[in-house]
């Protein structure tokens, strides 16, 4: 009877001195791989302007119709750029098709995965929220 108990305690003692496989989330975050697909993000040029030219290919290719609105406008040099870009993250399935379709590498999936919210409205991202922070 005592023998199985000691066997079990042995396993416990072995684990105490080995390195833990879990991490203390949320204090610690697990690093993700390079090809991880987080939420979509608009990419910027060095001068801070969005690379997006509002061609709407991502909106067209999006299988879950998460990209709701791309509002184009004409700049002073005749260039096309988006004044509004709305992605409904509640619908996003993180497939990365938008990134693949984009001719200007203007949208890509970043590594952000902590997207849970109490209110769904907070998951509807507009153009400012979609730009990289900082």
């Amino acid at each position: 009877m005592i023998l199985p108990l000691l066997k079990g305690l042995g396993t416990t003692f072995k684990a105490i001195f080995s390195k833990p496989v879990t991490i203390l989330y949320p204090e610690q975050k697990r690093p993700v791989y390079d090809r991880f697909r987080g939420r979509p993000e608009l990419q910027l040029y060095d001068n801070g302007k969005v690379k997006c030219v509002a061609c709407t290919l991502c909106k067209t290719v999006c299988p879950s119709q998460a990209i709701r609105v791309i509002e184009p406008a004409e700049g002073s040099y005749g260039e096309k750029y988006p004044v509004e870009f709305i992605i409904d993250l509640t619908r996003c399935i993180f497939c990365g098709f938008c990134q693949e379709a984009c001719p200007k590498a203007a949208i890509s999936l970043n590594k952000e995965y902590e997207l849970a919210q109490y209110d769904k409205k907070l998951l509807i991202y507009n153009i400012d929220m979609l730009k990289p922070k900082g």
């Binding site: 030219v53 509002a54 061609c55 709407t56 290919l57 067209t60 184009p72 406008a73 004409e74 005749g78 260039e79 096309k80 001719p103 200007k104």
Partner: protein
């Protein structure tokens, strides 16, 4: 028919057709780039090459090679694909990778070809072509870098539009799309944009508006002239982004293509307004309708139903206008209705009716079909059905190109009615076609005319008499081709006419008269186009009688293309007359005495006492006559701008005790109204229009009406408030009732024209004498013509961005010599005065006008051209600098 095989499949093709047409007719695809169904093939791009046996040992272009008996065609061999691939690669060397933001992306023919041929990269290099883009032109942007030099724009502009405004610059590899004009100075019809296979020509109003695949297309009818072209409105997110016509016929005019802004204009009336304490305030529909009903009841209580006068709308649908006249005849019980065509197109109707008779159709099957498709006539022809009257001598636009001689008199075709202009361009491709243009000013078609008759304004009838007299002088045995009464008496008069007197009166040389008469006399299918310049005169009806007499003499309506072509000003000018918005006729030009038949359906027999014409009604109110109308119910339009003598019209309307205005914009008339009921326009409502040649067009609601209502719904709601409800479920429902009462619309359906072509016609006419007294124009140094200019249609398009960009301000068009005498240059302001009023207006020097004649457009609210006129579009004016 010719037998041949294409890719092993045996087919039959029409003789004279090309391999490409034959393949397309049998659903086989041959790629092409420079070919377009609307223009002549030139075979320059060589994408459509095919192998032909028997034939030369090298590939032949399918778009220019005609089919032959026993021909074997291969369209898709590896060799051909290689040739096509290489050719497209050459085009791609210089083609910028603008696809993501080029508006053409998604519907670009070069893009499709590149995909189809599987071109992944271009392994050629060459010097870059210099960038020479044009962003400065109005409405159109040109990108020479994107151009593939297919020449479609150049050819369509030359062949179909007749403007020849764009051309190629430089040669060979450096060939560029240009015109020598930056910015562009043309008609701005935008047809070049439509035919461009790539994004070298861009519509500025559409630019970046939507991607091709994001829009839904809904068929609608253009509102901006009597042609009523059918087009598609392309809608994204409830907004009209652009309009297009079908592939085979890309032609639209500037207001058609760029005037759709009226729908989303921020000047649209959005909510009902009523006058409270002298101010118009927004109220709910219910309150506005109550207020309107009370106002009308109060006037009726005092003056009876005939104290209310209704003015129909040439822009409202047939259904709205039909319900409107029914509202007056059944709910109010009066025939006091008319439409603004009284001052224009109705004169053509009455004039033609005087010579050829009112339309009558007998011998229809008595049964009315219970079930018919939406907007299809419920009446059917029997074996012995016969028709007569003027509609049988009216021409149709689609056949105009088959005429062999056309006389254009008193019309500036392109601004008034572009579809006639395109038909003339098609006719001009024939070698034996002859065009005679008679107009006091130089118009666009003068450059193509074989004979120009520059007569003095107001002498149209003398000119027509001169033409007839010259015909009789040339051929004393002349007799009309059609059965005609009164020819002997007429001939006697014509033989007594001195051509020298006519020449003195009209200013047209005798030789020119004789030459024009000879041309018309020789023609097998002569046609006469006449328009606003002639109809809007005080004696417009007499002018039409003269023209109709001339047609009775030379016309051969049995030959395709021969006919009278009056120009209706708006898309439903013809329809509003057809459906009975006139004081003396019931729907379908039926006399008031035929009211019994209507009583059965309407549950009330309409009154047999004719109402007053619009002219009489206004005059009576002006003179405070006892039985003058006291209240007006006006469907849209701006009478103050459009009718002669604006001040008079304004002061008369100010006298009215109550005005209900049902319109889309705050026009000058709306400002005087007591109730304004906002109404939906063409792409917001369902219904039909009847265009100038009697063709029925169906328009569909493409965008939400956003709180405004279709015209007929407002009228039926108002009838409910008056406790005599007119009840209809839909526009189809109204159409069904309407056509069951209108024999003239027998067999009619959308896209078809009345009278029904299967109907046997009994055409005969009577020569009606007319006077040749010139119009009384008053005193002054110059003759003013008030007319239509390119880019606008009535007051409607002045609320749309597109036409206002091209033509945004009123200018006084004056000859350089006259301007010199007055000491003014282009842009200087002058004061124009007549007995009726004076306006200050900037000058535009235009040598299209002869000395002593000046021109103003009637579209603009400020300054108001019609404040100078008295009862005609012509008047004498004085002009002073400053």
């Amino acid at each position: 028919m010719v037998n041949l095989t294409i890719d092993g499949k045996a087919i039959q093709a029409e003789e004279g057709s090309t391999i490409l047409q034959a393949a397309q007719a049998h659903g086989m695809r041959i790629p092409f780039l420079c070919y377009h169904p609307a223009i002549k093939a030139i075979g320059s791009c060589r994408i459509c090459v095919v192998e032909v046996k028997p034939g030369p040992p090298r590939p032949q272009p399918a778009c220019t090679t005609k089919v032959a008996e026993g021909m074997e065609v291969v369209t898709n061999s590896e060799k051909l694909q290689d040739i096509r691939r290489e050719l497209v690669k050459f085009m791609l060397i210089n083609h910028p990778l603008d696809c993501p933001w080029c508006d053409k992306g998604g519907e670009c023919e070069l893009q499709n070809l590149t995909h189809e041929l599987g071109i992944a990269e271009v392994d050629y290099e060459a010097v870059r072509k210099p960038i020479n883009n044009d962003f400065d032109s109005k409405l159109i942007e040109r990108y020479n870098t994107r151009c593939v030099t297919c020449g479609r724009c150049v050819r369509v502009c030359k062949e179909r539009v007749g403007a020849s405004a764009i051309n190629f610059e430089n040669r060979a590899y450096f060939t560029d799309l240009g015109s020598g004009q930056v910015p562009l100075n043309c008609e701005f019809c935008g047809t070049c944009i439509e035919v461009c296979p790539v994004g070298a020509l861009i519509n500025k109003l559409f630019k970046y508006g939507a991607r091709a695949w994001e829009m839904t297309a809904t068929p609608a009818i253009c509102q901006f002239c009597g042609g009523g072209c059918d087009y598609e409105v392309h809608v994204k997110d409830g907004q009209v982004k652009r309009v297009r016509r079908d592939e085979g016929n890309p032609l639209l005019c500037v207001r058609g293509r760029f005037g759709f802004g009226v729908i989303s204009s921020d000047q649209r009336l959005k909510a009902p307004l009523i006058k409270k304490g002298g101010q118009l305030v927004e109220v709910s529909w219910d309150e506005a309708l109550d207020f309107a009903a009370q106002g009308l009841m109060q006037v009726m209580a005092k003056g009876g139903p005939s104290a209310i006068y209704g003015i129909g709308s040439p822009r409202a649908t047939n259904e709205s206008n039909y319900v409107f006249q029914k509202f007056f005849r059944v709910v109010l019980g009066t025939n006091q209705i008319d439409n603004p065509g009284r001052y224009n197109y109705w004169r053509a109707v009455e004039g033609m009716a005087q010579v050829f008779g009112w339309p009558e159709i007998d011998g229809l099957n008595p049964e009315v079909l219970k079930y018919a498709k939406p907007f299809h006539s419920t009446l059917t022809l029997s074996e012995e059905a016969k028709g007569k009257g003027f509609p049988f001598v009216m021409g149709q636009t689609a056949k105009l190109k088959e005429a062999d001689a056309v006389l254009v008199i008193g019309a500036d075709v392109t601004p008034e009615m572009p579809p006639y202009g395109w038909a003339l361009m098609e006719a001009l491709q024939k070698e034996d076609f002859r065009l005679i243009v008679a107009n006091p000013r130089k118009t666009k078609y003068d450059r193509y005319a074989h004979k120009k008759l520059r007569y003095r304004p107001g002498t149209e009838r003398a000119l027509v008499l001169g033409l007839m007299a010259a015909m009789v002088a040339a051929n004393p045995d002349l007799a009309p081709q059609l059965p005609a009464e009164g020819w002997a008496a007429c001939k006697e008069i014509l033989q007594g006419v001195s051509l020298d007197d006519i020449a003195k009166q009209t200013g047209v040389a005798v030789a020119d008269l004789q030459a024009a008469a000879a041309t018309l006399l020789q023609a097998q299918a002569p046609a006469i186009i006449f328009g606003n310049d002639l109809l809007a005169q005080a004696n417009g009806k007499e002018n039409v009688v003269a023209v109709a007499n001339l047609f009775l003499l030379i016309g051969q309506p049995a030959n395709a293309g021969s006919g009278l072509y009056p120009i209706a000003e708006k898309n439903n000018t013809h329809g509003v007359c057809d459906v009975g918005v006139v004081p003396n006729l019931l729907p379908g030009y039926q006399p008031l005495a035929a009211g019994e038949k209507f009583g059965k359906i309407w549950n009330k027999v309409p009154s047999t006492i004719p109402g007053l014409t619009l002219d009489e009604a206004l005059t009576r109110l002006e003179n405070n006559a006892v039985n003058a109308p006291q209240a007006f119910y006006i469907l849209g339009g701006d009478m103050i701008r459009q009718l002669p003598n604006s001040q008079r019209i304004r002061s008369i309307l100010q006298k009215a005790r109550f005005i209900v205005y049902q319109g889309a914009f705050m026009t000058e008339v709306a400002k005087l109204a007591d109730v304004i009921l906002p109404v939906g326009v063409h792409a917001e409502v369902n219904g039909t229009y009847t265009n100038t040649d009697g063709r029925l067009g169906q328009t569909r609601a493409a965008v939400s009406a956003n709180g405004v209502r279709p015209g007929w719904q407002i009228i039926t709601a108002l009838s409910q408030k008056l406790d005599q409800p007119l009840e209809y479920a839909s526009a189809e429902d109204i159409f069904k009732e309407m056509v069951s009462l209108m024999p003239i619309y027998v067999g009619l359906q959308p896209g078809y024209r009345w009278p029904c072509p299967d109907l046997k016609a009994d055409i005969k006419g009577t020569f009606v004498p007319f006077s040749v007294e010139p119009e009384a124009l008053g005193e002054g140094d110059f003759t003013l013509i008030v007319g239509k200019t390119m880019g606008h249609s009535g007051s409607f398009t002045t609320f749309a961005a597109g036409p206002m960009i091209v033509n945004g301000t009123q200018t006084l068009q004056i000859n350089a010599e006259d301007a010199g005498k007055l000491g003014v240059a282009a842009g200087d302001t002058v004061t124009v005065s007549s007995a009726q009023g004076r306006i200050a207006v900037p000058v535009a020097v235009n040598d299209d006008l002869p000395a002593g004649v000046v021109f103003l457009a009637d579209h603009f609210a400020e300054p108001l051209a019609n404040s100078l006129t008295s009862n005609s579009n012509l008047c004498r004016v004085n002009i002073q600098k400053g």
